[in-house]
């Protein structure tokens, strides 16, 4: 269940990155489109300004045509009628023409293909005016006929180079305008395309992101529900466990009180019989009474050990730093090690993070076993406790050179009521190592045994060395 949930959470993380990426791309896309739009807007403004400028050019060119034509008309008027006022009008048109030429120059300054034409227009216009003045002066000096001969009367504009140049300017102007319009059209088209596809893509991304996000939310919701269910189930299980624990407690209370009393009575009356009538009984009958007493005592021990096993199994595991070196010395003393002949060797022992009361029980059980099973060696018995730190784990080894056991039965070693030796060889109830394993495992640790018959046994414990979580 937990692993499954973990897997989903990991998957969720990958989806999250994808979502953020897609969303960022959409935002960048929209930004780019907006910037492109701003630039396009600027272009449009420029195009509009240029359209205005080309109107100006067009107007100026038309004015210039008019001016040039009127200049010609006034010149001719003078040559026909000899009225000097016509010359004044011609000169006025000339001045106007100069202004128009300047206007043209300015208006075309930004467009090279047009700008090259304007100086020629001004030059031609001035040349024409000079020619008219010369003819006018000729008329003033030599009479109108001489002037008429110098300047034959022809149709207006037919030979005017200014008009030709202006026409050229207007043609060029029209071409430039057409080019610009075509370019503007192209740009507008591409802008439309960018707007359409870019926005479409951004929209697509946003929609996809939304869909993914919604799916994600649904997944999260499902996950949350599943976790909630799991939690609910766990709560129920815990409640159930607490209930059965309470029942077990009542049960063990009954055992401790009600089972013990009759045993005491059996032993008691057997002893009383021994004391009061022992000398009247045959030796084998007295031995029977001893057996009755021994059996009841052993049953008492079994009950005590079972109670310990059940009590320790229910006791909450506290976690503090435990001075294992100190614990080892105390436990050894408690099991009568210091009073025995055994050689006791204690190595460097790292501290553990565990319940000191429960751990004391483990140490007492292991050390009393070591003492018990190495006792046949007498003064040659050797018990060794060593330890080491392995990262977050504290490892301890209890080695003895006692009778050991056959590794073929190692799997039975830690079971309740499992014994490797008969009651006659070694006393015991077969609960001690079960208690050891129960306590160690409740700490999240482990215990293993290695042995060889006649050579001794080694028990290896692993316990948390420091606070976890």
């Amino acid at each position: 269940m937990t692993e499954d949930a973990g897997g989903s959470i990991r998957k969720t993380g990958g989806g999250g990155a994808w979502l953020v990426g897609a969303f960022a791309v959409a935002v960048l896309l929209l930004l780019a489109i907006a910037m492109y739009g701003v630039r396009q807007n600027e272009r449009t403004r420029q195009a509009r300004a240029y359209a205005a400028a080309s109107l100006q050019i067009e107007q100026a060119a038309l004015d210039m045509v008019n001016v040039s034509t009127l200049m010609e008309v006034h010149q001719r008027g003078y040559l026909v009628a000899g009225d000097p006022r016509a010359l004044a009008l011609r000169d006025a048109q000339y001045r106007k023409g100069l202004l128009e030429a300047e206007l043209l120059r300015r208006a075309t300054a930004g467009e090279p293909t047009l700008a090259v034409v304007t100086p020629g227009i001004l030059a031609a216009f001035e040349a024409r005016y000079r020619r008219m003045r010369e003819i006018g002066e000729l008329a003033a000096a030599g009479g109108l006929d001489a002037a008429r001969q110098a300047a034959p009367l022809q149709g207006p504009g037919s030979v005017d180079p200014v008009l030709g140049l202006l026409e050229e300017l207007r043609r060029r102007q029209a071409r430039v305008l057409a080019e610009r319009e075509a370019r503007a059209d192209r740009e507008a088209a591409s802008f439309r395309a960018v707007m359409l596809y870019g926005n479409g893509l951004a929209l697509l991304l946003v929609v996809a992101t939304m869909i993914a996000l919604l799916a994600q939310l649904r997944r999260n919701e499902r996950l949350r529900l599943r976790l909630e269910e799991a939690h609910q189930l766990e709560m129920e299980r815990t409640a159930e466990l607490e209930r059965s624990n309470r029942e077990l407690e009542a049960f063990s209370y009954t055992i401790s009180h009600d089972l013990r009393a009759p045993l005491r009575h059996i032993d008691g009356y057997a002893r009383i019989l021994q004391e009061d009538a022992g000398d009247q009984l045959a030796p084998d009958l007295r031995a029977y009474l001893d057996t009755i007493s021994d059996s009841s005592r052993r049953m008492g021990m079994l009950i005590d050990d079972l109670l310990t096993f059940s009590r320790l199994g229910r006791k909450p595991v506290g976690r503090v730093r435990v001075d294992i070196a100190d614990l080892t010395r105390r436990a050894y003393e408690e099991v009568g090690g210091t009073a025995s002949e055994a050689d006791f060797v204690v190595g460097d022992l790292p501290d553990a993070h565990a319940d000191p009361v429960l751990l004391r029980q483990v140490w007492v059980n292991l050390l009393s076993n070591a003492l018990k099973y190495s006792a046949p060696r007498g003064a040659g018995a050797r018990i060794e406790v060593t330890g080491e730190r392995a990262g977050p784990i504290a490892r301890y080894r209890f080695r003895d050179n006692g009778v050991g056991f056959d590794m073929r039965y190692a799997d039975k070693l830690f079971g309740v009521f499992q014994r490797m030796h008969s009651q006659d060889e070694f006393e015991g109830t077969g609960v001690g190592l079960a208690i050891v394993r129960q306590i160690v495992e409740r700490h999240g640790g482990s215990v293993q045994a290695e042995a060889e018959p006649g050579r001794g046994a080694t028990f290896t414990l692993e316990l948390p060395a420091e606070e976890t979580e």
Binding site: Y253, R264, H265, D267, G268, I272, S293
Partner: protein, 145 residues
Amino acid sequence: MNYQQVEILLVEDSKADADMTMRTLKKRGIANNVEWVKNGVEAMEYLFREGAFANRPTGTPKLVLLDLKMPLMDGLQVLERMKADPRTQAIPVVMMTSSREEGDVLASYRLGVNSYVVKPVDFRDFAEMVSEVGMYWMLSNQVPD
């Protein structure tokens, strides 16, 4: 004194336990006159001279040995009443029980028990314990007159 002063009141529902306790106390010469009652109700009647014990001679025992689990009225209730009544609160009460339960020990001390011992299964250990308790409370311990 024309009557034998009761030295110990033994409150015990098990005849066997009572037998063994009284035998030990007599054999070790600690107390000859032990009054045995079978439950809390009888203990109350004895202590306050009521019911079946209304006509018993006056005087209080020097020690009460109290079992915990008994029918009708258990040891804790007896203890509570004794320690709440000025007539009996000065009598030393030793809880003698099979229960090692932490809760029972705690409850007994909260109610003012003077001592709490667990009956061993082994009769020799049991006899040893009974005689130790008797020796201390009957001979060494000082009580108000």
